[in-house]
Structures are given as structure tokens and as C-alpha cells.
């Protein structure tokens, strides 16, 4: 048993956890024909349920999972897994119909029905079921109330509300001005932009995968892998001092993690060129600034001429640049994560003088 728990603890390490999330997405998309079967979907859900059921015999696991505010996130995990699978399945089923020339199932159901009673009674049932669930949930689980607020006593760890824990997790890799302000703003702006960037006329009003491969894969990466899985990570696997703890690990306040992160400037000036860091910040950070300028300024144009040429032609310049900019901003998180894990990179640009660290 200890051995099994050890495996889970190890697999939940942020690096492995993230890698596993990416691999799962890749499998989901690649092997979607197999994934679409009922046995796969219910099998995965069953495994999850077994994991939580057996896990709850462990005191540490129970402690973190049954914290009242964490219970909804357990629900979120199940619902998210189910609905990601379900929507892919519906897409695959429709894709098969489309290949056969039958058109999506929604097409076959285009005839109109009366809202009264056909829709109104479904709404009524949904309303009743939802009320019952909410009332039972409220009777079974008490809302948490801790000690009265005390500004002098900082709890460790201090966590934001769970829906912002993805952002708090980003703080490990980016400074607050990026993780807490710029990137969230870009998430919102980016979401609003989606309908105006995506000019693919297909897949409007029915589930499909083949007709919208890139859109769906990118969205799933942002929504399921970056947003949702980082929330799960931040909720269940981050303990005191925002250190990482496996699901079956005791939250030891004294756990130490070596912090030997190094700035790009030091890598270049000190380690590669073998001299001291220059005094002036613009010399010191020259390489980092160039790298960032390249990433946001030149890379989109280069990609538009090579890898993304097809998109550039289809979307037109304005849509393409906005879209690629947003895409690169999203990818900056996994890129920074990788740099941190592989090279212990702290900042690409570090101008502490102006609170400007990237």
C-alpha cells in the first residue's frame, strides 16, 4: 500500500502531473475513435471513483479532500472528466455520420417542437433536481467557519479562493504583474476574441471534432490542461509555503525545497561569457529583452511564413496576428514552466529596479 501511495505521490509532482495532463489530452485527441466508446468513458470515471474511495482511507488524503471548500472541486474533477469525454464522444459519433453522408445528428433533429410543454417541463424537472441536490448537499455539509479574522496571524499556506488557484499557481513561474494582472486580462480578452478570430464556418451548431481539430485542441489545452488541472494542483497538491505535497503526503511546514533558480542574465554573462553582471540594466538584460521582443514581435511573422502559413492565408493579417499573439501568450506559461524545470530559469528579463520581471 505504501508503495502504491508512493507512486501516486511521485506522479503528482507538478512536473509529472503537468506532463501527464498533456499526454492525456494528446491521447484523447489522437485515439478519439477508441476514447468515444462508452466502456472507455465509464472505465475512466470508475477508476477515478476507485482512486478517491481508496484514497479516503488515508488520513492525509482525507484531510485535504474533505475540507468543505474542496468538496466542490472533487465534484468538478468528475464533471470535467465526464463532459470532456462526452463532448468528444458526441463529436466522434457525428463525424462518423458525416463521413457516411448523413449529416450530424442535430441536423436530423432540426424540426421544431413547442416550447410549452416540451422545453418548459424539462426546465421544471431540472429545477427540481437542482434544488434537491443543493438542499441535500447543504444539509450534509456545513459551510466552513474558521477563527475570526486576525491580520496578525497569516495562515500557511494562504490560498486564494479555489477558482483562482490556477492563477496563484502561475505565481510560481511569473511575477504578480503577469500572473495576477496581465495574463488574466489576456484570458478574458482572448475568450471574447474567439468568435472573431475563428473564421472556420464549419461545426456551427453541432458536435464535431474533425471539422475543428485545431480550435478544439487549443481550447482543451487552455481550459482543461492549463486552467482546470492547475486548479486541481493548487488545491490538493500545494501545502505550506506553496511547497508541493503528494496526495498522500503529510503537510509538513518545515519541508524544504532547494531554491536555486537563476536568471537568464546570469546564465549568459556569468556562466557563458565568464564575466560579472554589467552595471546598467539595459546591458545586463539585453539578451532577455531581445528574446522577449523576438517572441512577441518577430515570431508571429516568422510562423506566418512557415508553420502557420495556411492560417495566415485563411484568416487574413489582422485576425492572424491577434490570434497568434494570444496563442503565444497562452503558451508562455508552459514554456516558462519547462524552462524552470529544465534549467532552473528564474527570470528571462529581470529589471527589479522597475518591478519588471518576466
Amino acid at each position: 500500500m505504501g508503495f502504491v501511495k508512493g507512486i501516486f505521490n511521485a506522479a503528482a509532482d507538478p512536473r509529472l502531473f503537468f506532463l501527464l495532463a498533456v499526454i492525456s489530452l494528446a491521447i484523447l485527441v489522437w485515439k478519439r475513435e477508441q476514447v468515444a466508446s462508452n466502456s472507455f468513458g465509464y472505465g475512466v470515471l470508475g477508476c477515478l471513483a476507485i482512486f478517491f474511495a481508496f484514497g479516503s482511507f488515508d488520513a492525509n488524503f482525507r484531510l485535504i479532500v474533505t475540507k468543505p471548500d474542496n468538496v466542490p472541486i472533487v465534484g468538478l474533477i468528475f464533471m470535467l472528466v465526464f463532459f470532456v469525454w462526452y463532448s468528444l464522444r458526441e463529436g466522434v459519433l457525428n463525424d462518423r455520420r458525416i463521413v457516411k453522408g448523413e449529416g450530424p445528428i442535430e441536423k436530423a433533429e432540426s424540426d421544431r417542437v413547442w416550447v410549452w410543454p416540451d422545453l418548459v417541463y424539462i426546465e421544471l424537472i431540472a429545477l427540481i433536481v437542482c434544488s434537491v441536490v443543493l438542499i441535500v448537499w447543504s444539509i450534509v455539509l456545513k459551510a466552513p467557519l474558521e477563527q475570526p479574522a486576525n491580520p496578525a496571524n497569516t495562515p500557511n499556506p494562504s490560498k486564494a479562493p479555489w477558482y483562482f488557484l490556477g492563477l496563484q499557481e502561475m505565481l510560481v513561474y511569473f511575477d504578480p504583474w503577469l500572473a495576477g494582472v496581465v495574463l488574466p486580462t489576456l484570458i478574458v480578452v482572448g475568450l471574447i476574441c474567439i468568435p472573431y478570430i475563428d473564421t472556420n464556418p464549419k461545426g456551427n451548431g453541432y458536435y464535431t471534432f474533425t471539422e475543428r481539430k485545431a480550435e478544439i485542441t487549443i481550447f482543451l489545452f487552455g481550459f482543461a490542461v492549463l486552467w482546470a488541472s492547475l486548479i486541481v494542483l493548487g488545491t490538493f497538491l500545494r501545502g505550506p509555503n506553496w511547497n508541493f505535497f503528494g496526495p498522500f503526503e503529510f503537510w509538513d511546514v518545515h519541508k524544504l525545497e532547494a531554491l536555486t533558480n537563476v536568471n537568464l542574465s546570469e546564465y549568459i554573462w556569468v556562466r557563458a561569457l565568464g564575466r560579472g553582471l554589467p552595471q546598467a540594466w539595459y546591458v545586463r538584460e539585453l539578451f532577455g529583452i531581445l528574446l522577449v521582443l523576438f517572441y512577441v514581435g518577430a515570431l508571429p511573422a516568422l510562423l506566418g511564413k512557415s508553420l502557420f502559413k495556411g492560417y495566415y492565408e485563411k484568416m487574413g493579417a489582422a485576425r492572424y496576428y491577434v490570434g497568434v499573439f494570444l496563442f503565444l501568450m497562452m503558451m508562455s506559461l508552459p514554456i516558462k514552466m519547462l524552462c524552470r524545470w529544465l534549467f532552473n530559469l528564474k527570470y528571462v528579463v529581470a529589471i527589479g529596479e522597475f518591478f519588471f520581471n518576466i
Binding site: S110, V113, V120, E146, A149, G180, G205
Partner: protein, 271 residues
Amino acid sequence: MAETKIVAPKEGPLVQFWNWLTETQAWKSIFRHDRPTSDRTRVLVMLSNVFLHLHPVRIRKSGVKLRYTWCMGGLSFFLFLSLTLTGLLLMFYYRPTLEYAYTDIVGLREHVPFGIMREMHRWGAHAMVITVWLHMFRVFMTGSYKPPREFNWSVGVVMLVLTLLLSFTGYLLPWDQLAIWAITVGSNMARATPFLGHEGPGAGLLRLGDVPLIHAADDARFALLGGTFVGEGALLRFYVLHCVGLPLAIAVLMAVHFWRVRKDGGISGPL
């Protein structure tokens, strides 16, 4: 096939009462049509009721299916309604001051028999965040943001942000350790707003001679908290936003959202 003969059931007192009721002047002044059993009255019921009027009269068969919509938009709306109701009841018991906030919550727990309003409000709020996310996910997966529904998607994103802000502002109100530290962690970000936060990049550039324009007592975080830390001012601000400002804003947007679902041709489907 044998002809089925419809035998009128014997009219019991209930049916008699019902028949009488639906003929009264009061009833007829409220419902201006017969019961919706014919095509004509099914149209009338939708057109003459302001709430039902948010729906179209007829709708695609696929659009009423759980399979297609997962009912997540509807559940978000229903959760919003129940949050409004339970929140209103909670307001009877709760005073947003340092002196009373925490003890009012304790009182709610200890002195209200069978009280589950706080639970329903809290779990409903968590649930609404989840249903709104899943609703967005469904809308994405069915490509329903594509023309002509681009604008409604944008309205939706704004409502998503408002939902999170509602949850966030509400999180502070119990005024326990969980509350103030979660809000402290969250609002600390505002310190780093570029130009507008006193620890944000570029803020140092905004100065008149030697006098910095952006400092801890006037930056973005200060505006959010009404102070330099999570204290009395923050509690009042969050309370007002939570109970009045944000619900009003989201209610207006919901009206727009539902209206647009209708005007954009009802629930989406293949052309």
C-alpha cells in the same frame, strides 16, 4: 381498430373548483388565454407571459435535449435565482462591520434552527462557478459562438467574470481567517498592476518631480480595498459590490443574454 370513446370523468369538487376558478374575472385578467393544449394557446402562453416570453415559441428538437445543451446555461440561471433568494435572507442577519460580521455568521449557525441558508448560498455559489464554466465549454464544443452568436459569447464571457467576482467578493464576508487571507492573497495582485499599482512596472515613471503619483495609499489595490490592507473599508466595499453592484450588473447582462439567444434564432443547430 376499435374506436375509443372518450368518457368525461365525473367532475369531483376539485375539478368543479378549477372550472369555476378559471372562469373568474381575476383569473381571466391574469391569464388571457385558455390552458395551453392547442397550438394556438401554446403560442399565446409564450407570448403573453413576460417570463416565458424569454423563450421562443418553438424550438429545434435538438435544442431541448440534455444531450446537446447539458442544461448548463439554465442551471446557471437557476442557481443565480436561488443565490439571490438565499442571499436576501442572509442579509436579514448580517451586518458588514468588523464588530458584527463574524459574530453574525456564528449567530446564523447557532441560533437559527435548521438553518441551511448559508450552506445553500455557499455551495450554490461554488456550483454556479462550475456550471458557468461547463456551459461555456458546451457552447465552445458545439461551435455555438460562431455567427450570428459572436456577440452573445462575448456577453457570456463578461458574465463569467462577474460570476467569479461575485464569488470572490462574497468570500470575504464571513470575516474569518479563511476569508481575509484568501482576499489578501487575491487582492495583493492589484499591487502589481502595470502603472496603476505601487509595485507594478511603470508606476515609478508616474511622478511629478519628486512626488510619486502612485503609492500604497492611492493605487489600484487601495481602490479595491478602500485601504492599504483588508480591513473595514474592504469589508464594506465588498459587501456593497456583492449585494448590489455585481448582481445588478449580471442581471442586466442575463436579460441581454437570453434575449439574444432568442433573437439569434434560438438554440444553435446546423444550418
